[in-house]
Symmetry: C2
């Protein structure tokens, strides 16, 4: 028998592009998602948790000839049975493709229209980069089967409520609404209707850059081309300056109020039926949200919203945080978008052949968490535990009784479970746990019926800043009767918060 | 160019062995997990959410020569770079293997001991069966780096608190504790120490069947063999009746109280150092939980707990629900186990070579949910929304204003977003949504400044059971002033709950 080779030790590493979340990172996100779910629920949306694994077929990726299906997903092939090859399965890459599958599969049992929300991880098989992970959270709400723009208006007001619920103050955000149909109308008046193909696509792609290059940049790109910041020359679409006018007029048609903006848009699409319909829809959305009490300080018509105009078929919305932050280079800039969505009408057509209207929104969970952190709104519900130290390892029962009392009073508490020999290690442990309070009961204290309670937060402050006088005036360690354990700890915790 | 073949429509189906969760199924589980997280947090455990994807290497599955690694997991190979083949990745199959990887990877930053809890889906590439899914939830708590059985005692009291917190009444459950070391002691007294190999393994495997075959069955299996219920003969281990005695004595050593049980165990392991150590540990656990106020009505020493004795290295615990249910065949039986765990000391050794003690528990999320459903304790926080019907599609703004008022008062409400032409469809929709109340405002009502509010729950009851007299006495539809919308809806909802 060949000598067995000893297997090398495995590497303890997350796969590239994946990460772990610890403590507050988990609970803060859970807390935020729970608040969002509360708002969605109030709007009549039902929770849906679809399987993380879908058939590649249902996800809408098509198998190429090669072994590996679409490179953008994590996919594998099931074992086959006899001659029959196994299905290709994949991790979901978003929450919309699974919604389409779920709706097609269960449409006979689901209410119509179907309002659903979904929260959970999605996976992308992409090259990871700094801050770019291959597993991340999405949080979506969609209404399937409602053709009325009342459904879109509702998504907008829900988005506004959601942002305020999680802690973004009114005035610090804006839900901006545009409509693909208005753009279609503009293109129609330019002679670039659906059939115009390449030119139309080039114009759509150019519009998508409005966010970055602004009005002058879009004008250059639509006509003769543009020298970008890196010095590269980007070819233009080749329109004349006059031909580019309507597009620029559309993008910059925002006026001081909704009425003004709508009038500008009406002028820009005159003669196009689809364009007029788009403006009518925007007008109705503005009316409906106003009827619910949402003014332009929360939701506004803004034709400069271009993100997703190429993908969506009707109203498009984006939630933007308007306060300023400093970017990594120290420059001030607006925080920017944290959610986006719109109307798309081919949700389940792939499965059933039937066109089903749908509209929805997706919140960027990590970006919104970052915004809340920026604003100091992530007051974690979790604080470090009270640590009961172990002075005498034979009296573990006494220490366990103390933590039980504290927990029964609703106070987070633990007994030190490491080797108790070195007391310094116990205090270092309490420090690592960000413990607010330590409890000490040695043999001497036990005999006297008392315990020592250390206020670790105050202790740290004093150690850092206090003068000797202050230090004397503000003791951070208290000797109290054993029976006063819970009362004294509670008093200290209340003083800290 | 060859004519392109039209792709057939994809099937709208979850992959075999996977499922979707709708509405209350999601929120009830979330609510239960949130309560559990609250208890874990109070005990000083920190949340950990590790990546769903691990390297096959880290998971502890070894690549065979063939293409596909271990068949028990869902695995795939990353694209390689140049000559270097890509890593094999896999979905985690439990929450313990990732804990080992996380602890080994981050041990320098983590507190020591490290108490962590984790909740989330895990995936098993197994043949699906009725009620057996390939994706399901686990909910674990573990303490890494604490050798003291105080850590085990703490897990037991935490498990007790957890069950009561989610709604299992005291008296309806029992946390039972055993210890692998005691069994080792028994085997040692029989001459079956670690080196005895095959015989010892056979005895361990037999003990694992004690739950199913009982004392007489174990005795048969340890000696000459047993005819099982299906008529098949199972070979015995081949011990003599006298040799089997100590094992049976161990399994049946439970007495009327902990002192009695411990005395029986001490007799069973006399002369074995490891056995005596095991009994001492059980005694200490009993003392520690008693010091915290947990009596034998909640936590008890029970040597008949055998599940996992083969896997764990020290204390073993199991939470059993003691109330009776009817099984699928109409027979009464105890609900049984909903959680189990124990001490295992080789958690991170694979990665670091260093032995790190660990102890923990895993709650069977689906089984515990089933138990709560059985006990009627899953009072879902989610009820159907108030449905504001659409009588006049041009006045959508009026209806949106109503739902906004209701939501601002914290009441779940939605406007009907389907085609409003057929009013019957709107009521059918409200029915499907399990809506408690419908609101109606036609042109006539609008002119008179009133609205109609229908109590749908009462309406359904009346339709089912009431006599004409009762029907007259208990109207289920009310005409109220438009301004009283919120007050009246709230009154009806309060009457229903």
């Amino acid at each position: 028998m060949a000598k067995q080779k000893k297997a090398p030790r495995p590497k303890a590493e997350t796969p590239k592009g994946f990460r772990d979340y610890f403590g507050a990172e988990v609970t803060e996100r859970d807390e935020m998602l729970r608040k969002i779910a509360g708002v969605y629920n109030r709007y009549g949306f039902d929770a849906l948790e679809s399987s993380a694994v879908e058939t590649v077929e249902a996800l809408g990726k098509f198998l190429p000839d090669v072994e590996r299906p679409n490179a953008g997903v994590f996919a594998w092939q099931e074992d086959g049975e006899g001659e029959k090859p196994g299905d290709w399965l994949a991790l979901r890459y978003d929450l919309t493709a699974p919604l389409a599958r779920v709706y097609a599969q269960h449409r006979n049992e689901l209410p119509m229209p179907y309002r659903r929300f979904a929260m959970g991880p999605v996976w992308r098989n992409e090259k990871p980069g700094p801050g770019r992970y291959r597993q991340f959270y999405q949080c979506d709400a969609d209404t399937v089967g409602a053709a009325s723009v009342a459904a879109d208006a509702e998504i907008c007001s829900m988005l506004s409520d959601t942002l305020e619920e999680v802690g973004i103050a009114r005035g610090d955000y804006l839900v901006r609404v545009n409509n693909r149909k208005v753009l279609n109308g503009v293109l129609e008046t330019m002679g670039l209707s659906d059939e115009a193909g390449a030119d139309r696509d080039a114009v759509l792609r150019t519009i998508d850059k409005f966010d970055k290059v602004g009005e002058a940049g879009v004008r250059e790109l639509l006509t003769t081309g543009r020298l970008d910041a890196s010095g590269a020359f980007i070819d233009g679409v080749g329109l004349s300056a006059a031909q580019a006018d309507p597009v620029v007029a559309f993008l910059t048609s925002k006026a001081g109020d909704a009425a003004g903006t709508l009038a500008n848009l009406r002028a820009a699409v005159s003669g196009s039926a689809i364009g007029v319909q788009g403006v009518d829809e925007l007008e109705l959305i503005a009316e409906l949200v106003a009827a619910q009490g949402y003014g332009p300080d929360r939701i506004e018509i803004d034709p400069s919203v271009v993100r997703g105009l190429g993908y969506y078929t009707g109203p498009v919305f984006e939630a933007e945080l308007t306060f300023e932050i400093f970017d990594e280079k120290g420059r001030k800039r607006q925080f920017g978008s944290v959610a986006g969505g719109g109307r798309y009408d081919d949700l389940v057509k792939r499965f059933t052949g039937q066109e089903v209207p749908a509209t929805g929104v997706s919140i960027g969970v990590d970006r919104l968490l970052a915004a809340l952190r920026e604003k100091g709104r992530l007051v974690s519900a979790v604080r470090g535990p009270v640590v009961v130290t172990v002075m005498d390892r034979d009296r573990m029962g006494d220490y366990q009784a103390m933590v039980a009392e504290l927990r029964n009073a609703g106070i987070r508490a633990e007994v030190y479970l490491g080797n108790p020999k070195n007391f310094g290690n116990q205090l270092k442990y309490a420090d690592k746990r960000q413990s607010p309070v330590a409890v000490i009961e040695g043999g001497d204290e036990k005999a006297r019926g008392i315990i020592q309670i250390k206020d670790l937060i105050l202790g740290a402050q004093i150690a850092e800043t206090a003068t000797l006088e202050e230090w004397k005036d503000r003791p951070s360690q208290f000797e109290v009767a054993r029976g006063d354990l819970v009362a004294k700890v509670r008093e200290i915790l209340e003083g800290q918060s």
